[in-house]
């Protein structure tokens, strides 16, 4: 069993997102470690991009600061290696936009990511139509497929069928960011996706509170929390402690 499969042994799983380099590189490493030690089952490790067009203001702001503080793809991959060295053994999925990966060199990027200890990739601006080039070089690691409420039935079928690792189901028609309430019809959407795949279905975008996570956890195999995680931890005087508390509160809600 690989790390991702093991992580899904106890569902629903908790999957926070946090960008490397925010509020600075060292703190982000400590934060990710604290999330892992306090109940995160899988972490989406963010790579920063100057033009994150699928992201709301919270993640835009955080990744902008990471860039201002000098984060690069290379430093991000080194940080993943460092996390492994410090004993983080849950899956770490690299989440970032395509252009910095292209600039790094796709083959080199995939190789260095695997070597550093990453377990897969999420690339929001790389839909199924364009993913062949990346898949050619990807080796054993999965490219996590995304589905959205707007995906038509035949797209859903086609994309879900080829899913590896898990499906990232975008719960709302929109960009990342917290929402007051869960998207309507989420249950049906999840059920629809499940018709086409046995891969775990994880839901992200718009989930901000442990209560919302608990609701989603009743329907999905995993709950992805991005903006709320970044905002709570980034806004704290003691980010590492807050990360621990944050992870525990969601872990508790998903029991």
């Amino acid at each position: 069993m690989n790390r991702i499969e093991s992580a899904f042994a106890n569902k629903p799983i908790f999957m926070p997102y946090f960008p490397l380099g925010y509020p600075d590189l060292e703190t982000s490493i400590d934060v990710i470690k604290a999330l892992a030690k306090n109940g995160a089952d899988l972490i989406e490790v963010g790579l920063s991009f100057s033009d994150p067009l699928a992201d709301g203001p919270v993640i835009q702001h955080a990744t902008q600061i990471a860039l201002e503080k000098g984060i690069t793809v290379k430093k991000s991959l080194e940080a993943v290696k460092e996390l492994r060295k410090r004993g983080v053994d849950i899956p770490l999925i690299l989440m970032g936009y395509y252009n910095p990966m292209l600039a790094y060199g796709l083959e080199k990027f995939v190789r260095d990511a695997a070597e550093a200890g990453a377990d897969g990739f999420i690339i929001p601006d790389l839909p199924a139509e364009e993913s062949e080039e990346f898949e050619k070089v990807i080796g054993d690691l999965p490219l996590i497929r995304m589905l959205a409420p707007t995906s038509s039935t035949d797209r859903m079928e086609r994309i879900a069928r080829s899913a590896e690792g898990f499906i990232y189901l975008v719960s709302v028609t929109g960009i990342t960011g917290e929402r007051k309430s869960l998207a309507e019809g989420l249950g049906e959407l999840i059920a629809q996706v499940r018709e086409h795949t046995s891969a775990p279905v994880c839901v992200g975008f718009g989930i901000g509170t442990p209560e919302q996570a608990r609701e989603v956890g009743k329907m999905a195999d995993g709950v992805i929390v991005g903006s709320a995680c970044v905002k709570t931890i980034g806004g704290s005087e003691k980010p590492v402690e807050t990360a621990g508390e944050f992870a525990r509160s969601f872990r508790e809600a998903l029991r």
């Binding site: 100057s50 252009n99 199924a128």
Partner: protein, 398 residues
């Protein structure tokens, strides 16, 4: 499976979040069916004539030609199209597609404000709700157009993220679109972005080239030797080039924004600066992009807001590789000089974007024979730029 090719050689494509893919597919279907629909074409052509004022004239620039002492210069007068630039051709075409798709709301980005004004105009004409995203830097330097958009009933939303220019306005427009995609169309203003936009925009702008070719043959008796256009995202250039692309003897020249000079790094010459202009993916398309070593999109600079953008339309990238078109740049200073020259010699105040094309004419015409012909696409008029020009020239105008 798409109905049309999504790529131009290795360039183009559809690098967008999954949420938007169905909207791109829907748009492509609407476009393909509209193209085959005589009624749609008639409606578009009728609006082009009765509302936009097409065909726009071809003007012989007699005094400019004499002053430069070489090639004979002809101007394709997109500045005389309603709203003052070529942008209206595409805005109206897409707005008709919006009606066809049954959507009620459009979002648009704008740099110079011309596309925003064109979108607001099309929305007013066809009864659509219109929101325009515009960078704060551009709002300050293209103020008259901000008022025009508001007068036309559009909501102008200032964008304060990133470099506060066109690139960031596109980011915000896409974010709005992702959120409201079920009832909203993104009325993209240049030959950029994910498929099918570069193809759609080229088609609606091809009226420039079609008319210009006919006018050259009818009024001058032959095709030009050289066609010159400025290249921001590349819509006016691809529009005029498309009329001549099959005439192999006609040389096609695109002019990018050289800003303070390529060597200063402050420019928007995607093709002109190999140290920063490399193939990458931005705003849904693969093309030449100004970026740093790490793939972060670079800041750009140009005196003209409409050319101040880090990427170029994917079809231009292919035309450049194929050497079907050649690309060069003009600096801010050269464009400002050309601006004044055209004012003095022809009584035409050009947009600062278009002034970049005129700057290339000024460099090139004297080296050509008197029986050779340059056609320059005068993409827009310069009223919107008066504040900038007053500031830049600071009373030193000649």
């Amino acid at each position: 499976m798409t109905l049309l090719p999504t790529k131009f050689g290795p360039y183009g494509g559809q690098f967008v979040p999954e949420t938007l893919m169905p909207a791109l597919i829907e748009l492509e279907e609407a476009f393909v069916s509209a193209k085959a629909d005589v009624q749609f074409q008639n409606e578009f052509n009728k609006l082009m004539a009765s509302f936009v004022g097409r065909p726009t004239p071809l003007t012989y620039a007699k005094r400019l030609s004499e002053k430069l002492g070489g090639a004979q210069i002809y101007l394709k007068r997109e500045d005389l199209a309603h709203t003052g630039a070529h942008k209206i051709n595409n805005a109206l075409g897409q707005a008709l597609l919006v009606k066809r798709m049954g959507k009620q709301r459009i979002v648009a980005e704008t740099g110079a404000g011309q596309h925003g004004v064109a979108s607001a105009t099309a929305a007013a004409l066809l009864g659509l709700e219109c929101v325009v995203y515009m960078g704060e830097v551009d709002i300050a330097r293209q103020e008259p157009n901000v008022f025009r958009m508001k007068l036309l009933g559009a909501e102008v939303r200032p964008v304060s993220s990133g470099t506060k220019t066109l690139k960031d306005a596109i980011n915000e427009a896409i974010r709005d679109w992702v959120t409201n995609v079920r009832d909203t169309h993104y009325l993209l203003g240049s030959a950029l972005g994910p498929h099918p936009y570069p193809t759609i925009v080229r088609e609606f702008q091809s009226v420039i080239g079609t008319e210009a070719r006919e006018q050259m043959l009818l009024e001058v008796g032959r095709l030009p030797d050289t066609v010159i256009a400025c290249v921001g995202g590349g819509s006016n250039a691809i529009g005029v080039f498309s009329g001549f692309v099959n005439d192999e003897q006609v040389e096609l020249i695109g002019v990018e924004a050289g800003g303070s000079g390529i060597e200063t790094g402050k420019h928007a010459a995607r093709f002109g600066d190999p140290s920063k202009g490399r193939v990458g993916v931005i705003h849904g398309t693969r093309t030449y992009v100004l970026q740093d070593e790490d793939g972060q999109i670079a800041e750009t600079h140009s005196v003209s807001a409409g050319l101040d953008y880090a990427a170029v339309g994917p079809e231009h990238a292919l035309m450049r590789d194929n050497e079907r078109a050649f690309y060069t740049s003009a600096t801010d200073t050269e464009a400002l000089d050309a601006f004044q020259t055209l004012c003095h010699t022809e009584g035409i105040i050009p947009a600062l974007e278009s002034s970049h094309a005129v700057a290339e004419v000024i460099k090139r015409a004297p080296k050509m024979r008197k029986d050779e012909i340059i056609l320059v696409n005068l993409s827009g008029r310069g009223d919107k730029d008066l504040n900038t020009v007053i500031k830049e020239l600071g009373g030193s105008e000649k």
